[in-house]
């Protein structure tokens, strides 16, 4: 099975985080469905040419977050949680919101103002799509 995972050298984040993010994205877009088996740690390591220990770290983290399940000797699969893909999208949105709030705080923007800026931005996008 081709994992479709590609490690970017210009991405400043550690490799294990890149693996986590790309696996979550595969699940979020529905390529990897709930309960589906995924490459073993060793298979993925060989496939994307990174060390076993790095993939292991990514899998442990994904397991802790309830995204995948790894069974000794039986490989790993996507957790059978209904709505997992949607949950991952939600988490991504939450991350972006947190980042927006952090940057606003740096600029001294109040939550009320951030709200109206968000509304403006969304109106802007809607207007562009109509035209």
């Amino acid at each position: 099975m081709d994992s479709g995972i590609l490690i970017s050298q210009s991405d400043k984040r550690p490799i294990y985080l890149q693996i986590i993010e790309q696996i979550k994205r595969r699940i979020a877009v529905g390529d990897w469905s709930e309960g589906q088996s995924i490459p073993s740690i060793r298979q993925l390591a060989v496939d994307i040419q990174v060390s076993v220990i790095t993939v292991k770290r990514a899998y442990l983290e994904l397991e802790r977050e309830g995204v995948i399940v790894t069974q000794q000797g039986r490989g790993s699969h996507v957790a059978s949680t209904p709505g997992l893909g949607i949950r991952l999208h939600q988490e991504e949105l939450q991350q972006h919101l947190k980042e927006a709030i952090r940057l606003s705080a740096l600029l001294g923007i109040e939550p009320k103002e951030l709200e109206s800026r968000l509304r403006e931005a969304s109106d802007d996008i809607a207007a562009k799509e109509r035209s």
Binding site: P14, Q49, V50, S51, T54
Partner: protein, 301 residues
């Protein structure tokens, strides 16, 4: 102990201008270890000792359960060793070399050898004389890989190669890990290669091992903190911080034992954390060598 692919215990070797001092090293089956260090740090000497090519003055060396150098003949059936100074016969073809190795090692895998010829873009019927540096390196590795040894010991396998050749080789090395019983020890100046494919990292500098551990744990301990501190505030010296550079309102702190408490402690002292960055192995390597030399010189003074 036969559990380790490689185990060095208290190994030393004294030369007139260089001493290899109390080397401890353990490599488990199924793992790749990257050996890094500046030029002349002792990487090749360590490799030569564990191959039985140089005899240690003291200390215990076991490779695949065999004591070295005493049992090197038995050990070498299952070790594939390649280093830069290995010579192929210029007047002979690659095919001649392949038949030669095949006649010695019964486990030679001809199908895999043919596949490697194709992947490395080598011609078996060509004489070594006409090979470029990169082709020679690839030919040497082919001769070693096609034996499918349980342990690969490679001294600078990617040095002097173009990016495409480097990737071809890294791909074959990671493919070895399909088999949990096999292991690789390789030395390199290229920290990016080591960071990508090693499970274990060993740093050598001036004949001593300054770190040897699990790569993920290792990378995880190091961080760079970018701080903003009002003028006039001196940032406290914290345990786990090896270096802090303050200039104007901005400061950069390097942590080699990072815990979230460090960030909290800076914030309590009036600074604001702008960013906490991970460091690449190369950045860690340089910081670590500088730190270890400083400490060494202080002790020596």
């Amino acid at each position: 102990m036969t559990n380790f692919a490689i185990k060095l215990d208290g190994v030393g070797k004294k030369y007139r201008y260089f001493t290899l001092d109390n080397i401890q090293l353990e490599l488990s089956p199924g793992q790749i270890m990257g050996l890094i260090g500046p030029n002349g740090a002792g990487k090749s000497t360590t490799i030569r000792i564990l191959m039985g090519l140089i005899h240690q003055d003291h200390g215990d060396v076991r490779v695949l359960g065999h004591r070295m150098p005493a049992e090197q003949v038995a050990a070498k059936w299952d070790i594939g060793f390649a280093s830069e100074d290995m010579r192929l016969y210029d007047a002979m073809t690659l095919d001649w070399h392949m038949r030669f190795i095949r006649s010695i090692y019964p486990q030679w895998d001809q199908t895999y050898a043919q596949l490697l010829l194709k992947r490395f873009g080598l011609r078996a019927e060509q004489k070594i004389k006409g090979f470029s540096h990169g082709q020679r390196v690839k030919a040497t590795l082919l001769l070693v890989l096609a034996r499918r040894p349980r342990l690969l010991v490679l001294d600078e396998p990617t040095t002097g190669l173009d990016p495409v050749a480097r990737h071809e080789i890294l791909r074959e090395l990671t493919a070895v890990m399909n088999d949990e019983g096999r292991s690789i020890l390789f030395s390199s100046h290229n920290t990016q290669d080591v960071e990508q494919i090693s499970d274990q990292i060993t740093f050598i500098d001036r004949g001593r091992i300054i770190d040897s551990l699990d790569k993920e744990a290792y990378l995880n301990r190091w961080r760079r903190l970018r701080l903003e501190a009002p003028l006039g505030i001196e940032l406290p010296a914290l345990p786990g911080i090896i270096n802090i550079r303050q200039s104007g309102r901005l400061a950069i702190a390097t942590a080699n034992e990072f815990v979230p408490g460090i960030a909290a402690a800076y914030e309590n002292s009036g600074a604001r954390i702008q960013m906490i960055e991970n460091m690449t192995l190369e950045e860690i390597f340089v910081a670590k060598v500088e730190l270890s030399r400083d400490e060494h010189e202080e002790v020596g003074a």
